[in-house]
């Protein structure tokens, strides 16, 4: 088990050597992740773990990827997507372009879900989906649009619960236990690394989705990120968070109105 002071040392190294700042991540989860890696990669001591992280950039990639949690799924929380479909997207139809930002998109399941939704409400052709993450590796995987076949049963159930009526399997082709989603869905996606801790706003959006990313941050970092989103949201645009995340503690809250029963807020002020 890693000691608190050892965590501080590691985080200091990550920042000094590579510029990654994890000091404002929620500590309990971070500690579990580090312990998990220590065990998985069989380091005999903290000193060896630290040395490897400091001196081996390839290992650093793995370390950062495993330090962050990349779990995701398609149409996660189906009622959320139902609300996007029935209440949010219809208010955007008059716009010449629709700009959407998925911040912390992980391996892209959420972005492909959104593209399907947009296609079904006939808005995909004029939308752009910016999908960003801290990890280049997950983005590489997202770009390919290839997912495991074994997850499709659950995804297709989620899709139906979200109000989808097409045969879900028409959106992909299966190949040796994996599926590749149709090129047409990926055409409007732009993938790029973006670190919510240190990078700036890069556009103005009609909808920002940042789900299950803020739970890993302290309140201080959450406030920074929410301010960044606020600066990046056009009037009457939307911000969607994960099912247990909230604007409640944030200074931007007063300018937003929550949609009934969902973690989606509309910018009104």
């Amino acid at each position: 088990m890693i000691e608190e002071e050892e965590i501080d040392l590691l985080l200091k190294d990550l920042y000094e050597v590579y510029g990654y700042d994890f000091t404002q991540y929620a500590r309990a989860s971070l500690k579990r992740r580090i312990n998990r890696l220590w065990t998985l990669d069989k380091f005999p001591s903290f000193a060896e773990l630290r040395y490897r992280v400091r001196s081996d950039p390839d290992y650093l990639k793995r370390f950062v990827e495993e330090l962050t949690v990349n779990v995701t799924e398609m149409f996660r929380d189906p009622t959320y997507y139902r609300t996007l479909r029935t209440e949010v997207l219809p208010t955007l139809t008059a716009k010449p372009f629709i700009r959407i930002w998925h911040a912390g998109c992980s391996t892209g399941e959420e972005v492909f879900s959104m593209a399907i939704l947009l296609k079904e409400v006939r808005l995909l052709h004029k939308s752009i989906l910016y999908a960003t993450d801290l990890n280049p590796e997950v983005l590489e995987s997202a770009r390919k649009g290839i997912f495991s076949m074994s997850a499709m049963k659950q995804y297709s159930e989620n899709y139906i619960l979200s109000g989808g009526t097409t045969d879900f399997s028409t959106y992909y082709t299966a190949h040796y236990g994996r599926v590749k989603f149709n090129e047409e869905l990926a055409e409007k996606m732009v993938f790029s690394t973006h670190n919510l801790v240190s990078d700036r706003s890069f556009n103005e959006f009609d909808l920002i989705l940042c789900r299950n990313v803020l739970i890993y941050f302290t309140k201080t970092l959450q406030e920074r990120v929410l301010t960044l989103f606020d600066e990046s949201l056009a009037p009457l645009s939307y911000l969607g968070l994960g099912s247990k995340e909230t604007l409640k503690f944030s200074s931007i809250q007063s300018r937003y109105k929550q949609l009934e029963g969902e973690k989606i807020w509309r910018k009104i002020g």
């Binding site: 929620a26 992740r33 779990v71 299950n212 994960g242 099912s243 995340e245 909230t246």
Partner: protein
Amino acid sequence: MAKNRLNAGHSVDCSVVVIGGSTGSIDVLLRLLPALQPPLSFALIIVVHRRNTADSTLAHLFSLKTSVPVKEVDDKDVIRPGTIYLAPADYHLLLERDGTFSLDDSEKINYSRPSIDVTFESAADVCGSQLVGVLLSGANADGTAGLKAIKSTGGFTVVQEPNTAQVGFMPQQAISGGVADNVLDIPGLIRFINDLNTTRSR
């Protein structure tokens, strides 16, 4: 009465009680909750395995059984005594040193999210000897590693007597693993938890 003397000869001064359970544990909780004598001097945290639906029916069901406030945890909620907290479906529930909760949607542990081990271990890390861990009925091996962590940081552990459990496997694992300070039937558990409460009206 600041401290309670328990059968095992320990005395416990606790600020957090964390209860973990799986199959068959809801029934136990539905008997325990109405028997609690508020106000509670500790925070009561409940982690039960359930289907990963995000609805809050379980918290609602619990709240009907007690006058102690019941809250399904949201990210960064402050941990307060006198409150019952329920781990939300599909997230691991962790405790932070600053006295708040945090949530984590990382891989399942023991096929479970929330995992009892995750919360027990995190609570042990933060609360040390101020913690009491209780493991109820279940068909899963979750909880044993967590109770071990609680013991090793000076906390106290209690396990439901397996033959009083709907499914005895989970508590039996803990007993076989040597991590149960005390083994109690349901009335015993109720008495034990009420005895931990130093502010109850009598």
